[in-house]
């Protein structure tokens, strides 16, 4: 009796979308426990918590934020390659709103007083944040317009902004790096309330995204459009509007990630901000169990865990002593493992193994 029950529990666990990311995260942390002494040590200094685990959480923030938006896009059967470039655009917009000298605005007063003043900002910080996010949303709407209304392949449509976006970001800042002295703005990426402040942003964004998709019909419609947009159309779902929405939301998330990134390095670096982050975001979503290409069922929590898996691997590799230049190779191995784990063959083999196990247990 109990054997049968444990077999069915095994089935349920394997069937859960979160099985792969949870398993992977546990495996990595286990490796750290064995091979990296002091990996789990946490320290309190000046009311801030320090340690490798905190580092993992903190460094995973941009990927998690991007992955939340990317999850919905991938669920509709699309993909957004432009998120890294949109991060750079949002960062540039924020920087020129704080210090607009580069675009030809003549600041009153003493230049030296402005530069280096930790309270100075041309626009109030809330306006800076709002306008930057708005710019990111406009970028997302542009992607959505191309995909939903002009029926351009998502990969091609978002490639346009991926390439052009960085150019736009450069253009905005006139190809220079603007340095941010404003402390309030820097708090977004550098602040601490025991834990890094950016984690609070992530928590709020996750809660918002979850409520938006699971406490309204949007989640159902997103999945439905991903699985069969024709059936969705015949059912009266406005599939175009759904697609427009998910790309806009993805842009919004990229905007937040861009603000966090520029705030933590205090410099508008249009060449570096968000570079290659789209790939990490896509990988996180895929590890989280949302299917790239065909879309359909999605899991926001899965994507968050996926991002943590990526960051935990990276941090652990550094801790073990793998050089930074070799990290991409490690990531490549991760991609291969993920693809194999989610392949049809392995999934089928899993079914066979678990039924055999179940049978043997019932026999015993």
């Amino acid at each position: 009796m109990s054997a049968a029950r444990s077999a069915s529990r095994l089935d349920r666990m394997r069937g859960s979308r979160l099985f792969v990311p949870i398993f992977a995260l546990a495996a990595i942390l286990l490796l750290d426990l064995v091979f990296v002494p002091g990996f789990f040590k946490l320290e309190m200094k000046d009311g801030h918590l320090y340690g490798s685990l905190v580092d993992i959480l903190r460094n995973s923030v941009p990927t998690v934020v991007l992955a939340l938006g990317m999850t919905l896009v991938i669920a509709t059967g699309g993909v957004d390659l432009s998120v890294g470039a949109v991060m750079a655009i949002a960062a540039s917009v924020a920087c020129i709103l704080i210090d607009p000298r580069i675009v030809g605005v003549n600041l009153q007063g003493n230049i030296t007083a402005v530069v280096g003043d930790p309270t100075y900002s041309f626009m109030p910080i809330p306006v800076v944040i709002l306008v930057s996010l708005l710019a990111a949303i406009v970028c997302g709407l542009w992607n959505g317009l191309l995909v939903a209304f002009f029926r351009i392949q998502p990969m091609v449509a978002t490639l346009i902004l991926m390439i052009a976006g960085r150019g736009i970001a450069q253009l905005l800042t006139n190809s220079t790096k603007i340095i941010i002295f404003n402390d309030a703005f820097a708090y977004i990426g550098n602040g601490f309330i025991v834990l890094p402040f950016s984690l609070a942003i992530v928590a709020a964004l996750f809660a918002g995204a979850w409520l938006l998709t699971r406490r309204t019909a949007i989640g159902l419609f997103v999945e439905s459009v991903g699985i069969s947009f024709r059936a969705s159309l015949y059912t009266g779902i406005n599939e175009k509007l759904i697609k427009l929405f998910v790309y806009a939301f993805c842009g919004f998330c990229a905007g937040i990630a861009g603000l966090i990134a520029v705030s933590s390095i205090r410099t508008s670096d249009a060449n570096q901000i968000g570079l290659y982050t789209e790939l990490d975001a896509i990988l996180a979503v895929v590890i989280g169990g949302t299917v790239l290409g065909s879309g359909g069922r999605f899991s926001l929590l899965g994507s968050v865990l996926g991002a943590l898996v990526i960051q935990a691997t990276q941090t652990s590799m550094y801790a073990i002593g793998v050089p930074a230049s070799a990290i991409t190779a490690v990531k490549a191995v991760m991609v291969i493992v993920v693809i194999v784990l989610y392949s049809r063959q392995v999934q089928d083999a899993g079914v066979i193994i678990s039924t055999r196990l179940g049978r043997r247990q019932t026999a015993a």
Binding site: F221, E223, S228, A231, Y234, R297, T355
Partner: protein
């Protein structure tokens, strides 16, 4: 004919279980040289499981298979082909964007100087098809031909590749017109004459009688029996399939007369000269509450186009439509849903079900779409609605949380009906609601349509089975060549509808018949 020395396939005590289902229970099946053997049964009777075992896609739990008296273990579909068993499925598994010749000879192209000898290839391909009495230009792309020709190409390929002795045809006729079906049957008879054993799976009982020599009936995983088709009456066959006698036809007839008394006098929908260039010619249509209006016509006559126009999938280029006297301004699915119009689309797989979502989600979708993004139905409301319709329509599913793709075709169709009934429509357009569905569920759906009419709803019933249209409709619209030809009401006889469907050539023929009758 039933002598064991003529049997090419002998399947003995085949047993197969899936988790929770005993799909086949000690089934004995025989297939003889040079016969067309029909396999019939309701959905879930075990037809496809039996075929999948024969074609190597599935292995039996116990029991034996012999070919020509030699026991074999069929390991995989390629192995089955090597043994001379070829299968042609309902959906053509070829490359639509290659030419017919390429499709036929791909992987075995004749070569000359190391290059493909196109001339020889096209000649060989033409010969292969000529063997089936088909004369077409094999250098054209496959998708430029009808589904029937494509299917025949698949058959020709199957025959050549494995020099097949056994041909399995899995529901080959479900997307063919009457004429195309006839063409396929000619090929089947010819192959039979050459000694090939044909296993023919179909839902159409007419075709069983038209083409098969013997018929095997499956019910709930057991073989009810094997019969000479000519000696088995149609009623007896249906009784065998269902395990109960079918007085339902009479019930439906009675129900139709009953519901016919409640047809409203005011028009619910009035279309005037509505049409779409390139799709369907302008037509007039009036629908009343409580009325079932059948649409008859051959494949490609504009049946689906008419449905899509009325539901607002397409925008009309001419004419206008009023519902309840109000002129329709916004032609869109969501607009139609708001007006109380619903459409069960023809292509259930692509346009109806959302395969990975659960039965519950599929049922509440249209209702939720009507409520919009933010007036979300709570979980308890969703279960309440889903459970209500699962019970009401007798949907066979373990629970409301089952993904709809795990359901049989008939039950999927019921879920789509439930989806629309949940929106409480006043006009229900049903495009081929019974296609590929077993006899029992078919009758359920026909009865449901009449019950809805009695409830004061208006139904448009589109079907390629004329018998079914006649049985359920109070009035029948006939389409031909993408135009509305005529309308019949009152006592409708099948013959005049067929004449209207077929058009001028048949009219000439029928005049002769009328002459002889007089």
């Amino acid at each position: 004919m039933t002598g064991s020395e003529t049997d090419i396939v002998v399947m003995d005590s085949i047993d197969k279980s899936f988790p929770g289902v005993h799909a086949l229970d000690r089934v004995n099946f025989r297939l003889a040289h040079g016969e067309i053997h029909a396999l019939v049964g309701e959905n879930g009777a075990g037809k496809s499981t039996l075929v999948r075992i024969l074609t190597g896609a599935e292995r039996q739990d116990s029991g034996t298979i012999s070919l020509d008296g030699v026991e074999v273990v069929i390991k995989s579909p390629p192995h089955a082909q090597a043994l001379g068993i070829s299968t042609v499925y309902q959906e053509v598994n070829l490359c639509p964007n290659l030419t017919v010749a390429e499709n036929l000879l791909i992987g075995r192209q004749p070569r000359k100087w190391g290059r493909i000898d196109w001339k020889a290839m096209n000649r060989q391909a033409s010969e292969m098809l000529r063997g089936l009495d088909i004369e077409i230009d094999v250098t054209q792309r496959l998708d430029s031909y009808s589904i029937a020709i494509q299917q025949m190409t698949a058959i020709a390929r199957a025959l050549v590749i494995s020099s097949a002795r056994i041909l399995v045809l899995d529901e080959p006729t479900s997307s063919l017109t009457a004429h195309e079906t006839e063409q396929l049957f000619r090929v089947m008879r010819k192959l039979k004459g050459e000694g090939i054993a044909i296993l023919f799976i179909t839902h159409f009982l007419d075709q069983v009688y038209e083409v098969s020599d013997r018929v095997s009936v499956l019910r709930n995983g057991t073989l009810v029996g094997m019969y000479e088709t000519a000696n088995l009456s149609r009623l007896a066959l249906i009784t065998l399939m269902l395990g109960r006698s079918l007085t339902e036809t009479e019930d439906i007839a009675r129900q139709k007369i009953e519901s016919g008394r409640h047809i409203g006098t005011d028009a619910l929908l009035e279309a005037e000269g509505i049409g779409l260039v390139g799709s369907i010619a302008p037509f007039d249509l009036v629908l009343h509450a409580g009325e079932v209006v059948g649409v008859a016509g051959l494949l490609g006559s504009g049946r689906t186009e008419m449905a899509q126009l009325l539901f607002g999938i397409d925008q009309p280029t001419s004419g206008s439509m009023t519902i309840d006297g109000k002129t329709v301004k916004k032609y869109s699915p969501i607009g139609s849903i708001e007006r109380g119009v619903a459409l069960c689309p023809e292509d259930r797989k692509a346009e109806g079900i959302v395969a990975d979502l659960t039965v519950r989600e599929n049922i509440i979708m249209a209702m939720q779409a009507r409520r919009g993004w933010f007036r979300h139905l709570s979980m308890s409301e969703q279960y309440e609605i889903a459970d209500k319709y699962i019970k009401l329509l007798n949907i066979a599913t373990p629970s409301a949380d089952q993904p709809i793709r795990n359901l049989s075709g008939g039950n999927q169709q019921k879920v789509i009906l439930a989806r629309w009934l949940a929106t409480n429509p006043r006009l229900l357009i049903l495009d081929e609601p019974t296609r590929g569905i077993d006899v029992g569920t078919k009758a359920d759906i026909q009865k449901l349509v009449l019950a809805l009419a009695e409830d004061g709803k208006s139904c448009v019933f589109i079907s390629s089975e004329l018998e079914e249209v006649l049985r359920t409709s109070h009035r029948i619209v006939v389409l031909r060549d993408r135009a509305k030809v005529t309308e019949f009401a009152g006592d409708i006889d099948e013959h005049s509808i067929m004449q209207a469907m077929a058009g001028s050539e048949a009219e000439a023929g029928s005049e002769a018949m009328a002459g002889s009758g007089a």
